[in-house]
């Protein structure tokens, strides 16, 4: 199912499809392991739709909700 990273529930895994962000941010996220076709797992979501903690590449990464909204993913069962 296609959705955004921001809408994934805690504990869900997904694969990244597309990132609608400007090149600088995209480059940084890619270097950190977040790029189309990589797998991720949502570890935690800060309260009130806050920042999201994801597991990617074996070490947790925190990203803001508004960035996560621009990352399209396919949720895996």
């Amino acid at each position: 199912m296609n959705t955004t990273l921001a809408r994934l529930d805690k504990g869900k895994t997904a694969v990244i499809k597309e990132m609608n962000l400007d090149n600088n941010i995209k480059r940084r996220l890619m270097a950190l392991g977040l790029l189309p076709s990589s797998f991720l797992k949502v570890l935690r979501i800060a309260p009130f739709k806050g920042a999201i903690l994801i597991d990617v590449g074996g070490c947790p990464l925190a990203i803001s909700h508004d960035l996560a909204e621009k990352i399209l993913v396919e949720e895996l069962e």
């Binding site: 270097a31 392991g33 309260p47 920042a51 074996g58 070490c59 925190a62 990203i63 803001s64 909700h65």
Partner: protein, 641 residues
Amino acid sequence: MKEVRIGLIGIPNSGKSTIFNKLTETYQIVGNWPGKTVETVERAVKFNDKHFILIDFPGTQTLTPTSMEEEIAREYMIENKPNVIIQVASAIDLERSIYLSLELMELGIPIIIALNQFDEAIKQGFEINVEKLSKVLGVPVIPTVAMKGEGIDKLVEKALDLAHSKPKGNIITYEDIMPQINNIMSIIKEFLPDRYPLEWFALKLLEEDPWVTRKITELDTEKRLGDILEKEKDYVKKSTNMHPSLLLVNNRRSVAEKITNEVRKIKPVSKSKFIETLDLLSISSFGYLLLIVVMTTVFVLTFGVGLLFRDTIQLIFFALSSQFVFVITDPLLNAILSGVQLSLLVGLSFIIPVVFLFHFFFSLLDDSGYLPRAAFLIDKAMRKIGLNGKAFIPLLLGYGCSVPACVTCRILEGDKPRFVTALMITLIPCASRMIIIYGLIAIYIGIITALAIYLFNLFVVLLIGMVVGRSVNLNCESTGLIMVLPPYRVPLIKNALRKTWARAKDFVYIAIPIIIAGTVFLKILEILGIMEHLNLLFDPLFLGLFGLPGYVLSFLLFGAIRKEFALVFLVTTLNGNPLFYLSPNQIIIFTLITLFYIPCVATTVTLIKELRLRKTLIIIGINLLTAIIVGSVAHIIFLFS
């Protein structure tokens, strides 16, 4: 022969400064959050009879900077090239470390990898095949545990051996676009000085790195590159369907991932239940409560234990000083002696306990890994102001001292976020202002009022952050939080004590001597009757605005040098007990004014260095205005209540 220069380079929080401290016997701040070191530091080291120079770098996630401390690190690497790089890799963040290795190899400097935090990798169930990693990358890899010094000897020996060897060179081949890279290389080769890494410059040009592009434009005086770069980039875009910068990142990324999977096995391990629960709690909705509890505990402990200390210290002090009773008739000498005595008493009973206790408790917190979690939790609220969660870290540091906190703003992306955060930091009560809150409010009015003052201050800081953030259009420039979260670590008392001393020693070496001199000076002014003139001059203004006597101006002036002076000289001038001269309401108004009125000299100098004069003046203006508004509003409220 020139001494070998060895650079410690690695992703944030990998343990560079821990290794640096071990080898140099100096102290660079170590803690458990990314972004502590924000400046390069070089020190001469003598190690097993060998001399060399060691350089501690700020952490760099990649060699394409997104924040200032990364820019500083990267520029230093290129302009003041070390002879050897010790890449301090993190064994618990292997993939990102290898990504950086791949980038560092493009620099053409011999590299050795310290696979640090190896103990934690084992605990987390990561089995890393070190030999294989070394073979795949083609560089020596030494597993290390920096705090315990494990592997450091071997690391340094190997690094020194490497100093005069040839660098291994790039292991990635950017096959699809090699002709383009070669073409650019052949052109820039004609004007690029030898000391710069040729291939790296070509790659960074394709990546559209602003600093490299600027550098090349400067060097390319005959405009040889012309529009060739654009053509090559267009070609890459067309043929690969990807922007060249993303293409390069993608290539390195997939190599890093492949290598990681080859050398690392993950075994399931049972994690500590306590840490797991703590981790869960600290970033759930319960976390907000925890944040309040944690910060309140730090303040209450500091004030509470400080009060205990104060009584004991005063008892000892009076017992001692009653042993030395002199009858002195000369008024000048008398002024000097009583000034020295009084200021020593104040120094020992007000300043030392509070400052040391606060920094000690805060150091424990900062070593535990709580700060980045607080940043994660608060990100949403900070996004509302237009900042991101990372800005919360320098703000928290501001409760210790504004100077390093303002410097730490370098970890934020963009000039506007740095400006707004620095402004907020200047308004946050640092340890010096904590001494004022303690010395006037906690002692004479009560700890609850002291806490209320912190809360009120926080409200004002957020309000100003929001208003100023809106008016400079912070949102347009600010990016969201992107931060690697380190694991919780058990803080070591020894490390915390060392950090406490590093952060608090200025109060002993700098503040106390000035306090003694200043008190004597004020006593002399008093004898000469100059104080009264000053008072008469400023009484109308201060009484009218704040309901305070004019003489407080002289304390505020001293407070501009170091904030705690405002309290110290108030107490020493009023002979120990301000309550004889000022009402509780006046004390509260005075304290509120000291919180906001002006950044101290050291902070001002730092602000000018970090943000330039214009922004510093704006910050000073906002500080003054805030103090006047807060002070006079409080005065009015007290008048009518």
